[in-house]
């Protein structure tokens, strides 16, 4: 394909990660420097910014502030959870998107988000193709959940994993300090895939992590769990457990639903809102043992603790954004950038970049392979460790000011079109 000249829009969507802005920066910086891209717009609050004509002109930002995006957590352009209807059912949104694209001369659209965002990319790409509007659409993945199909791992996961493993090592030291018996239950994010919870195994590998790790990939039975904890507690006087918020019993019912008066709130995509599992399991263990039992939720710091980000993740995420622009300018469309695991001549981890069909990526969820768990399904084995360890290497080069993070401050100036 030949060079396509025009403006580009970058938008961010879904839940925050520590490095989603590193990807956006890789995209913005590369686009600003590319001669085929005539203007670089940021869409505020994901696709909603396109729908509401709420764009900002990235060329008006101070380059030094843009550079700080690499180390600033959460979506600096704002996010949304907005699911486009199928165009065959209701094409109102698509008409509106096309109108905005035409108004600003947009020929490149980059969407930086998770599964749902890749679905949005795919729908927009197909609509533009059907309406003979030449626009190249590329997905730049992000999700701490690490559940996107195709790519070896997802931008954002390594930093969340590093934070979880580090925090578990620190909690281990804290939880074992007294000579009285203690049981600690740590609840970790992850609705359907256990990748985040599995990261606790990196702490165990270092000799200071949880005794037991439970992921949603395996059915969780409360009675068997209590017996397993009691066995360790009676022998060691202590037990630390990492559980994924999404663990379910054999019937597929969330364990958290058993003990919690869950508000039946659903998020914009119809997912149940989970939580309170650690407190529930702590209550069960309190009733069944004489231990001091503590339930801890790592909560949203898992996804935004940029101060503990993996520099490997930051650099890879930046490159994912850069490559999305490069591939689009080369002529590619309707693809998601992803990672391919490779190694150098010494067998050391190397990340290569590839592209994946959006159709295959959207709305599928990659789980932990069954043979990465131990036999009793309450821990991860060396296959997971070998997978995860290279990803968490390197400390963030975050700029500090007065001993605190210096996060980016954008002016967010509207384009004069």
């Amino acid at each position: 394909m030949s060079a396509l000249k025009g403006a580009c829009i970058i938008a961010q969507s879904g839940g925050p990660t520590s490095v989603i802005n590193a990807s956006a920066y890789g995209c913005i910086k590369t686009a600003l420097e590319n001669e085929n891209i005539t203007a670089v717009y940021g869409s505020l609050n994901g696709i909603k910014g396109v729908l509401n004509d709420n764009l900002i002109d990235m060329s008006k930002e101070d380059p030094a502030e843009l550079a700080l995006m690499k180390y600033t957590p959460s979506s600096i352009l704002g996010s949304c959870r907005y699911k486009l209807k199928d165009a065959s059912v209701d094409d109102t949104d698509y008409k509106c998107i096309l109108e905005t694209f035409k108004k600003y001369g947009v020929r490149y659209f980059f969407y930086n988000g998770g599964n749902d965002s890749m679905d949005t990319c795919n729908k927009i790409s197909k609509y533009m193709l059907e309406h003979d509007y030449d626009c190249r659409v590329m997905g730049i993945p992000k999700t701490i959940d690490n559940d996107l199909a195709g790519t070896d791992h997802c931008p954002g996961y390594p930093s969340a994993a590093k934070y979880i493993a580090t925090s578990m090592m620190e909690i281990y030291h804290d939880a074992r300090v007294y000579d009285i018996g203690t049981i600690t239950v740590v609840e970790i994010m992850g609705r359907n895939a256990g990748w985040l919870t599995a990261a606790a195994a990196l702490a165990t590998e270092k000799g200071c992590g949880p005794d037991l790790i439970y992921c949603p990939e395996n059915a969780f039975e409360v009675d068997a769990f209590v017996e397993r904890v009691k066995g360790i507690y009676e022998k060691e006087g202590k037990c630390i457990i990492a559980v994924s918020e999404g663990i379910r019993d054999g019937k597929g019912k969330y364990i958290s639903e058993y003990g919690n008066d869950l508000s039946n709130a659903k998020d914009g995509f119809g997912h149940a809102q989970l939580g309170g599992l650690a407190a529930y399991l702590a209550g069960v263990l309190k009733a069944k043992t004489d231990a001091k039992v503590r339930g801890i939720e790592l909560s949203l710091l898992q996804r935004c603790a940029a101060h503990c980000a993996s520099q490997t993740d930051i650099e890879e995420s930046f490159n994912a954004g850069r490559i999305a622009v490069e591939k689009a300018v080369e002529g590619m469309t309707d693809r998601m950038v992803g990672y391919l695991r490779s190694s150098d001549e010494n067998g050391n981890y190397v990340c290569e970049y590839g592209v994946f069909d959006l159709t295959g990526v959207a709305n599928t969820e990659k789980k932990i392979p069954a043979d990465w768990f131990n036999e009793t399904k309450d821990g991860l084995n060396e296959k997971y460790i070998a997978y995860a360890l290279p990803l968490i290497q390197g400390e963030t080069q975050m700029v500090k000011e007065d001993g605190l993070p210096r996060f980016t401050r954008l002016k967010k100036i509207k384009p004069t079109v």
Copy 2:
């Protein structure tokens, strides 16, 4: 006083901090190098190790592993919450302590802990004096609560403050990412003094912190709070609130007690176990607004997140341990080492080291001065910022291995006495 030759014991007590081991290392290293100190013993699980003859020989440890103590959170010698009875009521424990001291030729006792530990120091010191046993007793403070009298600030507080301020800045970015209205309530530790919660003001000072900060120093009225939050939420579409777990109403009742079926568990010192406040306030706000409301507990990572420790705190804590040994060898006893704030010729913060009477320190709690709060008592003013900012400077020099903290591993070998 003349040189006193003999062995020393170092023990740690109370809740963990990120830097309590930095103090212990300062004490152990200095003692190992001092010619008047003939042996250096660690007492496992605080004073209980002395009572149960459960000591370890610090000279048997690898010096490189000892050096890693500086960056290892929580009490590496183990902790306890054990309150000595008054000797006049029951002197059993004191007799036992004296017996252990005699058995090992102990002439120096260093206790590294909070208010309760300073009380223990004071009692032991008095007993030894009354029984003509020449033993120098020094307290090495630690408490994230920052509530010890006399000292300008407490070892451990700056690191907790740095973690809280950093996390609040990250939560701010996370909580403001969607364009739908959100209210976020973050619960921070602190039973009677608001020092930890106040640290959230450092994030506000940097432009990304909570809108409202509530400390136990000021009475908290739920109705007024709801109105204040609603006012901000209606104007901004967002509101972030930091609350101390220990906030109470005008009648002195903990706010957390209103909404929680608090287990009536008390810790070893008769303090009520608090918690669940964020969830309670989130529930109240959900009922009174149309916002998406989230309650977050920073939980015990506040006190053990060594990966985000203040290097200033680490160095000062190390020096506190060092100076305890030096002063004791010089002849001092029955004192706590503490900090005096000073400044250099350019007006920059300098920490000087002093000693304080244990009697004045034990069982008193230093609160935030009333004039460090804003007029509406829902924020801190520039006096707090000027106080706290120098303390959180400098990034930890923690050793990493495979992208994770390399914490110390002690052999804990019993002495051959």
